[in-house]
């Protein structure tokens, strides 16, 4: 099982306690603060996770990690698009995206204009979100708000297009979801070559916090074998629950990856040791 250090603490995100999120964010006032912390923390973990907000992109462009460390980069940054919709509506967002089509994404842009099928915009949107210094071979995750919307709308083919687009670009594809069993049902028929390189990230923790549809079923699902890799997130219930039983519980699940956030280097080191890394 590999350990990835998450990024919520840098951006004030805490799904169980808003004030805690603000407190940890205050430690990281600049991109340099985040980069310095990550470079130190990386000796205790197998890699880092980072979101495509403005600071996140800069972090990836500036950070220098040992070659063995993995970068797991998640896209898109939802609040950027939510603000755009609030200010300019859906058409406004579309126009912003279309303006950014350049020579490299010309074919995709043309396909979209002829067919009006939004699926063809996926490679364009991916390129918009990636930092220029992000090396090939790293994981690119689709944020759960998009993955789960595609699931809800019956657009699993979009998820497959996302996977194919990333593989063509030289990256490893990954999907974040809060509905892991639902996603598993929908991708079960995908070809083995599409599933083999895929990683699926979802909530799993002892308290069942944000574990859907319910803890028992996700726990059982996690113990079953799958071709694709699986990453557990929110393993400490967003910091709301911390006891020693968590470590044995997570280790019993045979996950390929786990991700957790922390602004404390000693805690990161101690957790990694307890997870047996």
């Amino acid at each position: 099982m590999k350990i990835i250090l998450g990024d919520n603490q840098f951006f004030g995100i805490n799904h169980s306690d808003l004030s805690k999120g603000e407190k940890t964010k205050s430690q990281f006032q600049s991109v340099s603060d985040i980069v310095k912390f990550l470079e130190e923390a990386s000796s205790y973990v197998d890699g880092i996770m980072m979101n495509s907000n403005e600071m996140g992109v800069e972090v990836i462009n500036k950070i220098s990690l040992c070659k063995s460390k993995e970068i797991h980069f998640s896209i898109p940054y939802p609040h950027k698009y939510a603000s755009l919709v609030n200010e300019s509506g859906m058409l406004g967002v579309l126009l912003v995206v279309l303006k950014l089509i350049n020579f490299k994404s010309f074919i995709s842009g043309l396909k979209f204009l002829f067919t009006r099928n939004a699926k063809h915009l996926i490679p364009v949107l991916i390129k918009l979100e990636l930092p220029k210094n992000l090396e090939k071979g790293n994981y690119i995750y689709l944020q759960n708000i998009v993955t789960d919307l595609c699931l809800g709308l019956g657009l699993e083919n979009y998820l497959l297009k996302f996977v194919h687009s990333l593989k063509e670009m030289g990256y490893k594809p990954a999907l974040i979801t809060l509905n892991p069993i639902f996603l598993d049902e929908k991708i079960a028929h995908w070809k083995e070559e599409d599933l083999r390189d895929l990683c699926v990230c979802y909530n799993i923790n002892l308290s069942g916090f944000n574990v859907y549809p319910k803890l028992n079923s996700v726990q059982n699902f996690t113990k079953e074998k799958r071709i694709y890799k699986r990453m557990g997130m929110s393993i400490f219930s967003s910091g709301a629950v911390f006891n020693e039983k968590i470590f044995d519980f997570i280790k019993s699940l045979n996950l390929d990856y786990i991700v957790f956030g922390s602004s404390n280097l000693d805690r990161i080191k101690s957790n990694s040791i307890k997870f047996g890394v």
């Binding site: 609030n86 200010e87 509506g89 939004a118 509905n179 944000n210 319910k214 629950v241």
Partner: protein
């Protein structure tokens, strides 16, 4: 109630969100989505290739078991009247309920999407105060975000929109819901509105009363300190105890029964999108309709908002 045919008017962000959730909780139902003709509609039509849904651009004629109205608020009245004429059985309207200058229908089959009512912390708070028979003396509530970073375009930048319409309506509705009181009884003490980017108010503070309860409300949707919208309540009871809560946590130094975190209030959910409250709202409208805001409550919200906007 057997819901076979569902219509959704408006395929914007909320229409599509509700459609995605409804598809899971009504697996046997078919859908008609109505949107104005244009580029976005034609993209949605080509992209959402699904035998359960039909896209149309003209007004609907048949009767639906459930009609979701997710258009901008200035179009609510027209669509509600069309829905009543078609004899749709249940009508759901996204918040706010129309605009403040409209004569909106008050009917038992019309419900309004004040989704924060379904937040687990809010529901737990209501449950505890009912069990303990506590009387609320004072409320301080706030709702802050960085939603607006520049002047909005088109209809989003009118005197009827602004932070009160977009975010304040939630707090006003929640306050009435928590107090279990008719918001038509509210009396204004003072109001302060400030415009930063939009033609309407972007920052608001007001003091008002409902019966013996005093409410102070602060709104700000141009606050760069907030990554996402955060609401906060500080409630003082007549016995002197104070409870603070937001969307994730409830705390009291005076009464430990109120010390709850959303982690302990977690429930099972078949399909999650955007928040547990969105799915629970859908479940309520298709089942018992016990928590969801009724049209008379939403009209009372509008009446108070009109006063708070000094319109």
């Amino acid at each position: 109630m057997n819901i076979k045919r569902v219509s959704i008017i408006g395929a914007g962000r909320m229409g599509i969100t509700h459609y995605a959730i409804l598809r899971q909780y009504l697996p046997e139902s078919t859908f008609v989505i109505k949107e104005i003709p244009g580029v976005v509609t034609s993209i949605l039509k080509r992209s959402l290739n699904d035998s359960r849904v039909e896209f149309v651009t003209e007004d609907l004629r048949e009767t639906f078991d459930l009609n979701f109205i997710c258009t901008p608020p200035q179009f609510h009245l027209k669509e509600i009247n069309n829905s009543i004429e078609r004899k749709d059985k249940l009508i759901f309207v996204e918040k706010p309920y129309g605009l403040f200058n409209q004569n909106l229908p008050n009917l038992n089959n019309i419900f309004v999407g004040y989704v924060l009512r379904f937040n687990p912390v809010i529901l737990e708070f209501k449950k505890i105060i009912k069990k303990k028979n506590l009387k609320i003396e004072q409320i301080e509530c706030s709702y802050f975000s960085n939603t607006l970073t520049k002047p909005p375009k088109g209809w989003r930048n009118s005197k009827y929109i602004g932070v009160l319409t977009e975010m304040g309506c939630h707090l006003v509705d929640l306050t009435g819901f928590i107090l279990d009181k008719d918001l038509n009884k509210a009396k204004i003490i003072n109001i302060k509105n400030k415009s930063v980017y939009s033609k309407s108010e972007d920052i608001h503070e007001s003091n008002w009363t409902i019966d013996q309860t005093i409410i102070n409300m602060k709104l700000d949707w141009v606050n760069k300190n907030f990554r996402k919208p955060v609401f906060n309540y500080k409630v003082k009871f007549s016995n002197g105890s104070i409870v603070n809560f937001d969307q994730q946590n409830m705390k009291s130094l005076d009464d430990s029964d109120f010390n709850k975190n959303i982690v302990s209030l977690t429930t099972n959910l078949d399909y999650y999108l955007r928040g547990i409250d969105f799915s629970n709202q859908i479940k309520d409208i298709i089942n018992k309709r016990e928590i969801i805001s009724k049209s008379n409550e939403a009209i009372a919200v509008n009446n108070l908002l009109k006063k708070l906007k000094s319109l």
